[in-house]
Symmetry: C3
Subunit: 152 residues, 3 copies
Amino acid sequence: GEMAKLTQLVDNDVFRAYATYTTIVLLKMMLMSIVTAYFRVTRKAFVNPEDTASFGKGDSAKKYLRTDPDVERARRGHLNDLENIVPFVGIGLLYALSGPDLSTALLHFRIFAGARIAHTFAYLIPLPQPGRGLSWAVGYAVTISMAYQVLK
Amino acid sequence: GEMAKLTQLVDNDVFRAYATYTTIVLLKMMLMSIVTAYFRVTRKAFVNPEDTASFGKGDSAKKYLRTDPDVERARRGHLNDLENIVPFVGIGLLYALSGPDLSTALLHFRIFAGARIAHTFAYLIPLPQPGRGLSWAVGYAVTISMAYQVLK
Amino acid sequence: GEMAKLTQLVDNDVFRAYATYTTIVLLKMMLMSIVTAYFRVTRKAFVNPEDTASFGKGDSAKKYLRTDPDVERARRGHLNDLENIVPFVGIGLLYALSGPDLSTALLHFRIFAGARIAHTFAYLIPLPQPGRGLSWAVGYAVTISMAYQVLK
């Protein structure tokens, strides 16, 4: 029946690898929400008036409606994840279904995941350039390589 | 033939549920573009000079190049949707293909969709905290639960 | 075996068309990173202190931590891509699996891809309105049309 077919799809080694690494990078991206929230709370830097209501009313709360460098840095890292992980998830799915060798596919998925994790550390610490730029470029190149395989 | 296989995939109950709820939350996210445009037009708050050309030239148009709290609120809601609905769509697909019970899957999809709709109302009205925070956390927890099932 | 099934999925004409156009629009979205980086370097407008370290220390580097209209325009175009291409990729996959006619599906995919490419030109040149608004609306309408087909 159809469940058997689904099981066969999920049993395919390349697809399983795609599922694992996609889940890992998406969870990593989700972690950025926690990092941003952590900096908002510890730096007391909020953007919505309703978020500062517990600090009291009027000016005593209003002073916490401000931007903070660490919060903005975490938000930029999050947006950069969206810009790069969305293409990986979409193109990676099509690549996984295009029948690549398992070893080649694993190489793509692992380098991408490693590059994005390195990018997050490079952004948050922050590391001197070209640390962040290089980790971004590696993930970008992996996605281009998968796209080339899909279009071919 | 291959169409028969596709039909079998689409006939799978869990996959159909995934398709329905993914389409609903993506349409809800797309609605944020309309909400933002509505606030831009009614509040006369634009960001691109070419968007204010119909208000005349020079200073008479330039005064509408400004930020507005309602526009910015809608934009933050939209970005929060992207940050949370992208992981749901990606991880949810892999979860749907991992062979969960239909009732368990429906529970995940329905709670997520409900939480994100609640989050939008909490953001736009806005509701006092922890309304928005709680609805965000519920959707986040559902995605983590599906990711755990995929990785297992 | 399972690879045979995957090959059948990939051999399906509608799915192949989806794969091609999804890859094209995701690559186009990725190009926005290059456009933004190009404007950051040529306009010398950066946001991270570590990115200006090569310009020297102190005030000689700090003056390049600024916003630039061209950089911000490219960034808005990139975010608009995310907001519109993510729903296309998600809803388009479900639409492709729902068994549409090849000619109808190609019409949807081609109009969407054309509209998003036109949107990018309209944003970056920039073209007078309603050029950008119209190209946005066409892509939006195509996605709504696919969503209607999926939910039906």
